[in-house]
Symmetry: C2
Subunit: 342 residues, 2 copies
C-alpha cells in the first residue's frame, strides 16, 4: 500500500510499504477515506535528523473498517469510523477519568508496528477504546468537519476547557492556525461573550471572524499585550495558547486577567521548562498570593469550633522587643513560627 | 510607639516610630494584641540591600480597634479584629469575585504611609473591606489559631484549593514550613484521603502527622519523587507547592499525576519564569495533549447538526501522492490545513 514516510527535515515521500493487517485480537484494520496533515507534523518537517528507516507519518484520519480482530465488539466491518490522534484502551483509570491521552496501554500512530494515518490503511490497536462509528456515509458533505474531530477541533476545545471558558467570559486566542481557529469555535460554543483572536494572516483571521471572533489583534509581543488591554478592562478571563513558542506563552500570560486561566495546547518549544513538564501530563498549575480576606470567613468557624488547630505552628512567643531575635531564630530554622505579643 | 524596622539583610531593629493614627475617613486604628513573623519576612532578612530609611515590617496581626474614620461602618471602637496580610476595599470587581489579593484599591502593610503589623499599632486603610470582627476576647485560647488566618492558614488553604483537593484525593504537600503544615490541615479539611508531607525536619513532620498527614517523605529531589511514586499508583492528584524554590517546583511537577493539579503558594524564587508571572496574578495554567477520544462524542452532535463547521480550516485537498507538496505548502504558510483523500 501507499503511505507517507519522512526521512529527515524537508524530506517527505509517499512510498510502497507493507500492507496494513491485523496483529492483535483487539485490532481493527481501517481503509483510510480521509486524512490530514497536522501542524505538529511540521515540527519534524522543520527539524527531524536523518533517519535511514524513515518515520511513518499521520495521526488524523477517518476510514472504513475492513477487518476486525476476534475480541473487537463495538466496531464492525463496513463501519465508517473516526480515530482520535492517539489510540487508547478505553478502560484504564485515565480513560475512565476522561483522559485517554494518558492511557496506560495506549500509544501513537506511526510508531513501532502501528501505521501512520497518512496512508491507504491503518492497523488500529485497541479498536473498541479508540474508534468512534460515524452515522454518515464516507462522502458526506460534513467530512471535513468530522475529520477535525481527530485532533484540531478537539485540541481547540481542550484549550477552551483548560482556560475555563464559560458564559459571559472574555476570551483571547493566541494563534491563527487551525487549532487557534477551532479554539474560537470552541469558545463561542461554550458561551464566551468576547473572543479576541491574535493572528496576523488576513485570510485566517477572516475565517476566525466567521467562526465567532469579535476582535482581531494583528500586533505581536508587547504591542499585542497593549492592544488586548485596550479591548478588555483587566485582561482576558480565559486565554487559549495555540502556538507553543515561548513568546506566545509569554503573551498568553501577559494578557490573562488576575484570577484568569491559560489553556495551553501548543506543543511546547522547550520541554524542560516547568510548563513543558506540566504540559505532557496535562497537569494544571495554579495559585499565587492567597485571597486571605475571602478565606477568613470560610475558615473562622472551623477555628472557633476547634475543628482545626493551625495555631500549633507557633513554637515560640515573645514581646515586641524580642522580634529581632525571632527573625534570627526562624532564619536559623530553630523556630518554626514566632508569635508576637506586643 | 514601638515597631519593627528592617535596614538590610540581617539588620532588624525595634524602634520608636511616630504613633499610628487615622488619615483617611475609611481608616481604622488598630492596637495590635498579637502579631507574627512570616516565612516571607525571611526573604528580605536574607537578601535586602541597605536602605537608610528602613522598611516597616509585618503583615500578620490581630488587634483592638482604638478609632475609626467617619466612613467606617462595619467596625467599631473596642472590636477585636483580624486582618488579612493585604488590605482591600471589599467592593472592587476582584474583591467581589473572591480575589481580594488583586484588589484594585488595596495594598501592602509596611509600604508608603501604612504601618507594618509587627508594632504596637497599625493604621488599617479600607477598614470595612479589610477587617473581620472576632467574636472572642483578646486573650482567648484560640488566639494562635486565629492569628494564622491572617496568612499561613489561608495560604495553605489556597494551595489546596488551587490544587483541586477534594474527597478521596491523594495529596502531596511539598514543604514542612508553617504554610505546608497548614496545607496539610486544609487538605484533610477538604476531604483528602491520603496526605503525603515532604519535609525533613522531624519536629515539623511530626506536627504534620498530628494535623493529618498519612505519610512522610524525608528524601529530596529525585529520591523524593521515587518515594512518592512508591506511595501512589501514578503520582498525586493534588500537589501543594509551599516552598517557592525552583527545585520544589520541579519536585511538585514530577510527583503530580497525569491530569493532576499543582497549587503553588511558595513565593517564586524567579519572578521572570512563566510560572512566576502567573503566580503574581493568581492565573492558572492548564492543558496538554488533548484527550480527543473523550471529546469526539461531545462534539460529534454539534458537527452532525451543523452547529459548528470546523472543517472550514481545510483550504486545500489532494490525493496521497500530493502529500509531500502538502507539507511544503503548509510549512510555507501557503496552506492553512491540507486534507488528504487517498
Amino acid at each position: 500500500m501507499r503511505a507517507t514516510v519522512m526521512y529527515e527535515a524537508g524530506d517527505v515521500r509517499v512510498e510502497d510499504v507493507p500492507d496494513a493487517g491485523l496483529i492483535d485480537s483487539t485490532d481493527a484494520l481501517v481503509r483510510v477515506t480521509r486524512a490530514a496533515i497536522c501542524g505538529s507534523d511540521l515540527w519534524p518537517y522543520k527539524s527531524m535528523p536523518r533517519d535511514a528507516q524513515g518515520r511513518r507519518m499521520g495521526h488524523e484520519f477517518i476510514g472504513v473498517v475492513d477487518a476486525v480482530g476476534a475480541d473487537v465488539e463495538t466496531v464492525d466491518v463496513g463501519d465508517l469510523v473516526v480515530s482520535p490522534f492517539l489510540w487508547s484502551d478505553g478502560s484504564c483509570v485515565f480513560c475512565q477519568e476522561g483522559l485517554p491521552s494518558s492511557c496506560l496501554h495506549g500509544g501513537r500512530y506511526g510508531w513501532g508496528d502501528v501505521d501512520g494515518g497518512q496512508g491507504e490503511a491503518v492497523r488500529v490497536p485497541q479498536a473498541d477504546g479508540t474508534l468512534v462509528v460515524l452515522p454518515v456515509g464516507a462522502d458526506d458533505a460534513l467530512m471535513p468537519s468530522l475529520l477535525t474531530l481527530t485532533d484540531v477541533m478537539g485540541t481547540g476545545h481542550h484549550a477552551a476547557v483548560a482556560a475555563k471558558v464559560g458564559h459571559g467570559k472574555t476570551v483571547a486566542v493566541v494563534g491563527d492556525g487551525a487549532v487557534g481557529l477551532c479554539g474560537v469555535i470552541a469558545s463561542k460554543r461554550l458561551g464566551a461573550e468576547q473572543v479576541i483572536l491574535l493572528g496576523s494572516n488576513p485570510e485566517r483571521t477572516a475565517l476566525g471572524q466567521a467562526f465567532g471572533a469579535t476582535d482581531i489583534v494583528t500586533e505581536r509581543g508587547e504591542e499585542a499585550v497593549e492592544r488586548v488591554r485596550e479591548l478588555t478592562d483587566d485582561g482576558a478571563h480565559s486565554v487559549l495558547e495555540c502556538v507553543g513558542l515561548e513568546q506566545a506563552v509569554e503573551t498568553a500570560l501577559a494578557i490573562a486577567r488576575p484570577g484568569g486561566a491559560i489553556g495551553r495546547v501548543g506543543v511546547p518549544e522547550q520541554d524542560a521548562t516547568s510548563t513543558g513538564v506540566a504540559f505532557w501530563k496535562n497537569a494544571s498549575i495554579g495559585g499565587g498570593p492567597a485571597p486571605v480576606r475571602a478565606y477568613i470567613e470560610e475558615l473562622l468557624p472551623d477555628v472557633l469550633e476547634g475543628r482545626i488547630e493551625p495555631g500549633r505552628v507557633f513554637d515560640r512567643i515573645g514581646s515586641i522587643e524580642d522580634v529581632p531575635d525571632g527573625y534570627r531564630a526562624m532564619n536559623d530554622r530553630e523556630v518554626l513560627k514566632f508569635e508576637i505579643r506586643p
